[in-house]
Amino acid sequence: MPGLGTSFGRGGATTFQQDLQNADCIVIMGSNMAENHPVGFQWVMEARERGAKVIHVDPRFTRTSAMATKHVGIRAGSDIAFLGGIVHHILEHDLYFREYVQHYTNAPVIIDERFVDTEDADGLFSGWDPEAGRYDIESWRYEGMEVHGAAGQRGEGFEPRGEQSGHGAAGGGLRHGEPPAEDPELEHPRCVFQILKRHYRRYTPELVADTCGCSVEDFLEVCETLAANSGRERTSAFCYAVGWTQHTTGVQTIRTAAIVQQLLGNIGRPGGGIMALRGHASIQGSTDIPTLYNILPGYLPMPHTLSYPRLESYIAANTAPTGWWGKFESYWVSLMKAYFGEHATAENDWLFDELPRIDSDNSAYFTVRQMLEGNVRGYIIAGENPAVGHANGKAHRLGLAKLEWLVVRDLVEIETAAFWYDGPEVESGELKTEEIATEVFFLPAAAHTEKDGSFTNTQRLLQWHSQAVEPKEDCRSELWFYFHLGRLIKQKLAGSEEERDTLIKALRWEYPTRSAIEEPDAEAVLQEISGREISTGRFLSGYPELEDDGSTSCGCWIYSGCFADGINQTARRKPHWEQASYVAPEWAWAWPANRRLIYNRASADPDGNPWSERKRYVWWDADEGKWTGHDVPDFKEDKAPDYVPPEGAKAEDAIAGDHPFVMQADGRAWLYVAQGLEDGPLPTHYEPQESPFANPLYRQRANPRRQQNEGLAEDPYNPVADEPGAEVYPYVVTTYRLTEHHTAGGMTRSVPYLAELQPEMFCEVHPDLAREAGLEHGGWATIYTSRSAIEARVLVTERIRPLQMKDGRTVHQVGLPYHWGGRGLVTGDSANDLAHMALDPNVHIQEVKAFTCGIRPGRRPRGAELPRFVAELREQAGEAK
């Protein structure tokens, strides 16, 4: 997540779940932790039982709120206003942890004089290019520093951003790690600290109350509780999940929390941090070792069509002169050796010229558009159910119908596999089975009990699961499928002379197989990921051992060492009661370097002593001359606190002894992100793509950089704010999960014991809204947007409150779980059919947590009536326009 990546250096949760028990205050926001991470929530309960304050800020009163000591209801999509208000409160009343902020963040850094803040440009930062619809970030840079991305490429208009900026490699021009211009006293008008102050000046409690719909008292209580529970003696933690990410401002929301936690000195310390709660068993792993278009394993950027004509420029553009990203080339060369073995040589630039190039966006929603426009012929889907789980499911299903061939791999026949004969569009006649040309292969998959492998959980922990039984009949693991697919393709192309087949021929694809079905050995793959010294075959102990001369091979540098000493470190299962501390470092393996709480050098003061006895974690042992503590120090073990980098120091050596954020070029946490984000160096409140309100702060209503599908008929948007026609879709809708089900339901609607616990799609509405819209508890409601209309049972509850907004306006919110689809033991309409595909610009995530809808009593029209109904409302809104 670049929100965390750009702020701290790594795109992962800064802490681990068990450490939440040490928090004095936990703010859960953008997450419904008790419902969606119940077992992790035990650590929040531990903290609560020890007297910690648990604050839940959420549009709904959920099972998490019920456990909290405080719940504050806010309007969906107003999180940045709320968090920005906290920043304002902290700065206004000098509640920040001064020593921490001075030494460990970039607060003192002075910013280029050309930088213009949104406060002075009505919602736009300097560098906005209306034609291109993007920012030129040159004016955002540190004063006296060229923006990173060496000469010769600026013109090509591409800098590492989004996930690839997970490393925030913006170090160009840093002199031995120190920014050219700083004001340690934080008083210079252009220092980050003062810019921050000005940026949030208008985020007063009153503005927060007006924008979020909460009370000034509740908001202030949150600020004060947080501040009172941060500092030397106390720490506070934040927990978030997709309630923050699934917005057109998702990354910036997380950034705001990162700013709050930096100001309060809560990063890298026990009971502090930002806990990113991922939704899937290996969602962290699937970004670390990405099945994402724009990065290679370990957040190395994919080569881009518009930049890096040559290998040198690619390396130069991504290598930070200082910090751990200074060794970028070693990471990349070792990956190429893992991919192509002896075929990748210094002479052929490690095959750089043969690598595929990406454009600025080749994300899932881009692909859907390509499908709809007939540009995609084949699609392989493994363990995902876009027909239900993705925003605007209808667009997806229509897209699938335009494919030549489709492969779906899952345990059960999910909606995505059945779209051609059993989907809403078939029912409505928009698709006719006999007219769909798509050739569909459904291949049954193996379950976690039927294969070896590792998941990377929400706290960067790689845990190995062992095969318990053989998969039955045709069921196979993805490892089997992709290995044998690759084998077959290599066979077919073995004799090819085509230039395009160079890479596939060069691909190193030998893995030992076992059992009758020739299942590849997952451990052999993990060994390749962990890395070896090629000449000796010795397993590497970690990424510091990686070389840029092709002598080492490593499939994912941040995972390097997970097979150190030839032992599968991820399979370690030493019971926690046999381990010295609650950190339990001998249970599985965490990246990086088995650290559980990262940036933990910050748990000690600049001199290396614990900030307080109560919050002792990692400290400098002067006698031993090394860092020690409960965890693996996230710092060069023998680098003294008073270490000052020599002139011309490079990479990690250029990080001073009192700078804990070793991934960052300047070794500090970034309050202000000079480079790496598409939509600004500082988070700013923008309204969602669809909301009933104008932006209370600027004329610029929504995120200017958000991605929209202009001119895509399948993805129309509702009129908003005071636009005519907005009254057709007057309510705020938010989608979510329930404890009893999992995402698109493929893994739970097929399970009897879970199906019976939440058997039907329902919507949650407040009694006032029920009265207003004529809804009857237990009856049916039809919810509609300009995309589609669905039906749901009506659950009238006080738990989803109407909010009092500016000048007495009331906003009603509609709650929609999104687990149901047309197939399974229990079925229902899919909430995601209502959602649009406008995206966050950094990570291309859709905005399903806040959009607008209309609602009326009764079941939805059937058959061809449905599209007609939706179209009529759209016209009604359009005419009004």
């Binding site: 008790a34 419902e35 119940p38 077992v39 929530f41 035990q42 309960m45 039982e49 009163f61 099972r63 998490t64 709120s65 019920a66 456990m67 909290a68 000591t69 719940h71 504050v72 209801g73 409160h89 206004e92 009343h93 000098d94 509640l95 409690p205 909460c214 009370s215 000034v216 008292e217 509740d218 202030l220 209580e221 600020c223 004060e224 509780t225 501040a227 009172a228 529970n229 329930l738 404890t739 009897p752 014991y753 879970l754 199906a755 019976e756 616990l757 939440q758 058997p759 039907e760 329902f762 237990g778 049972r793 009506v794 659950l795 509850t797 006080e798 738990r799 409150r801 033991l825 229990v826």
Partner: protein
Amino acid sequence: MSAPDGLASYGDEQQERVGFFTDTSVCIGCKACEVACKDWNAIPEDGTTWTGESYDNTSALGANTWRHVAFVEQAEPLRSRLEAPPDEAPAPGREDRGAPSATRPNGDSGTPLRWLMESDVCKHCTHAACLDVCPTGALFRTEFGTVVVQQDVCNGCGYCVPACPFGVLDRRHLAPAPDLPAFAKEDGRVWKCTLCYDRLKGGHEPACAKACPTQSIQFGPLDELREQADARLAKLETEGWEGAQLYGRDPDDGVGGFGAFFLLLDEPEVYGLPPDPVVTTRDLPRMWTNMAVAAGALLVGVAAAFSGRRS
């Protein structure tokens, strides 16, 4: 405390009496207990009806539900204690603002809101009506002091069903179990929580307690659980929780105390529990005497019918 009926019969095979303490103040309503129970005991799925009763679609304990999580939404504060402000000094930026927030209940400002969740289960009474009235000995007191229906004995007479003051037991009307004779159209036997009798025999804790993410369900020797419960109630008291009360903890209650007792945050009936359950067999001796007299009266009455003059 009075010993559970029948436990003495085990002599030296007798184990320490175990049970559940279900602390609803930490229940997150995840229903792991319901699933864990069904999963371990291979209880059939029994219907997918949406009730609209908050998040409860299971509705009640029964033959196919041995753990049931109740959900109650109330316009009540969860806690009522006046909490001291975060720090003694008046909070910055607060000087001129109204009442300190500390007086607010949880839930956002305005009407308070709380969501009570409680995982219900068979109470394994010290004096168990179901056990007393069972005519076949299918229901019996185990060496652990729990009350279990033996499925190889139960003939589905149904007497225990109305006898239970908590409505725990019911006859299973679902498709026959594999071990059933051909003619049987349904299972027909009575089922309820066994407190995982087989797991206890293997030295494992019951499935629901094992699964519970927040230890709302605690398993252990009953005496220890009672001490923990008393301490817990005291703690909640100091924290100002509304209406906290122990239910079924007292050995002197109508059923001699529960083997599985609860900490509730409101009156029992709010959770669908009887406020003052009694084991009706405690009146049985008097009922037998009463019946004997009635029987005698019948004898006399008939005789009297002949005392009249003969026609």
